[in-house]
């Protein structure tokens, strides 16, 4: 079964529920086998099967709920200005993996998926564009927003205990 572990990991991140993720992966393989004739040899198989998984997720109850809560992000190609210099590197260095995982969980699905496809699956912009069915420019701008959102999420989570301690 090609990409089984990685598809499962991605499905878990999307659904945030292991049972739903299992159903999603199972349905993805079933659809992939059923529609394998639609796969064009020579094209990107990984992007094809991830696209099936993502589309299946988006039409599921969890997927519909997750996407309906997220406002349409600014899908333009404008170059986003960088935030003021912050010691994110130090924050991220200090932050453990669990903190980043929690921050990822709290990101909107659109940001979470683009980050995972780029950083974890190490897909090229072109592959991400195919998987998410969005233009390359949108891939770049969404990635940039997602990274900034993650940074601010991690920062916020790290500052919370400190604030609580100060109050106490």
């Amino acid at each position: 079964m090609p990409h089984f572990e990685r598809l499962y990991n991605f499905a878990c991140w999307l659904t945030q529920d292991r049972h739903e993720a299992e159903d999603l992966v199972q349905e993805t393989y079933a659809k992939a086998l059923k529609g394998f004739s639609s796969f064009q040899p020579g094209t990107n198989f990984r992007a094809w099967i991830y696209k099936i998984l993502r589309n299946t997720f988006l039409t599921s109850r969890t997927g519909l709920k997750a996407t309906s809560n997220v406002p349409l992000d600014l899908e333009d190609d404008e170059v986003l200005p960088l935030a003021k210099e912050t010691p994110e590197s130090i924050l991220l260095q200090r932050s453990d993996s669990q903190l980043v995982q929690q921050a990822l969980e709290q990101l909107p699905v659109a940001y979470r998926e683009v980050l995972l496809l780029c950083e974890v699956e190490e897909m090229s912009y072109q592959e991400i564009s195919t998987t998410l069915a969005i233009p390359m420019g949108t891939v770049m701008s969404r990635l940039s927003r997602a990274r900034r959102a993650l940074r601010s999420q991690v920062q916020g989570m790290q500052q919370q205990p400190q604030g609580a301690a100060t109050k106490a």
Partner: protein, 249 residues
């Protein structure tokens, strides 16, 4: 502050998506610009942190087994799709082969029978007493066989035909008695053998026109009796005589 010129390209640079020329130019810039280098380092660390945190869930073996099982029937169907025609082809081939073998055996059996009949015919021609009952009268020849063979038969009226009844004798095939009748047409002699169907190992061959060792032969069955006709005459003569005998019943 990072430089405005490169700010929008840092992510693409770290993701390996910049063109070679741009990547080289940005690389040179990072060597001389502390702010941009620090920002790059921060982003690389974030990339690594997400990479490590993102590889979080692993499927348990039971789920893997379940997925594999759910896929297996389809594979089996595929196997069936691939092998079923081959299997069907092989079965068809075996059936065709068996039929061919059976037909070939049957044909060989017929050929063997005709060959034996040809031997009997030749032996009769070579004999100084070719027949035991010498008569052109069918009402003499037919009763002669009564009590000698376990069946009876009818002989045709040969008036107005080119054929003449010469006579007959008892003959044996597969240890079973039968009648051999000799007819003459011009200078040729025709042997007509009559046996019980059950006496023949392969049964009657049915309506057939064959040849054995250049002899013309005809065969048919009627009322549980097998008729064989063999001679050196042309096939048309055999056809005419067989018609007369068939009509006589």
């Amino acid at each position: 502050m990072v430089c405005e010129t490169w700010a929008g390209k840092l992510d693409a640079y770290l993701d390996g998506e910049l063109s070679l020329a741009e990547a080289r130019a940005l690389g040179e810039h990072l060597r001389v610009c502390g702010a941009c280098a620090a920002e790059s380092l921060s982003r690389v660390q974030q990339k690594r942190a997400v990479q490590a945190a993102g590889q979080r869930f692993t499927p348990d073996p039971a789920f893997r087994a379940r997925i594999q099982k759910s896929i297996t029937p389809r594979r089996a169907r595929r196997w069936k799709l691939v092998w079923f025609p081959a299997l069907a082809g092989a079965v068809a081939l075996v059936i065709v082969g068996a039929i061919f073998l059976h037909l070939s055996r049957e044909h060989r059996g017929e050929q063997q029978l005709l060959s034996e009949l040809a031997d009997l015919h030749v032996a009769t021609l070579a004999s100084s007493n070719p027949v035991d009952v010498v008569s052109t009268d069918r009402h003499t020849v037919k009763p002669w066989f009564a009590g000698k063979i376990p069946f009876t038969f009818n002989l045709p009226e040969l008036q107005d035909s080119p054929f003449t009844l010469v006579g007959g004798k008892v003959t044996y095939l597969n240890q079973s008695p039968g009648a051999e009748l000799i007819f003459r047409v011009r200078q040729h002699q025709i042997s007509v053998f009559i046996f019980q169907e059950q006496a023949l190992a392969n049964g009657c061959a049915g309506e057939n026109a064959q040849s054995a060792r250049s002899f013309s032969a005809r065969s048919w069955s009627h009322n549980g009796l097998c008729y064989f006709m063999i001679s050196d005459v042309a096939g048309q003569d055999l056809d005419k005589l067989s018609e007369l005998i068939k009509r006589a019943g």
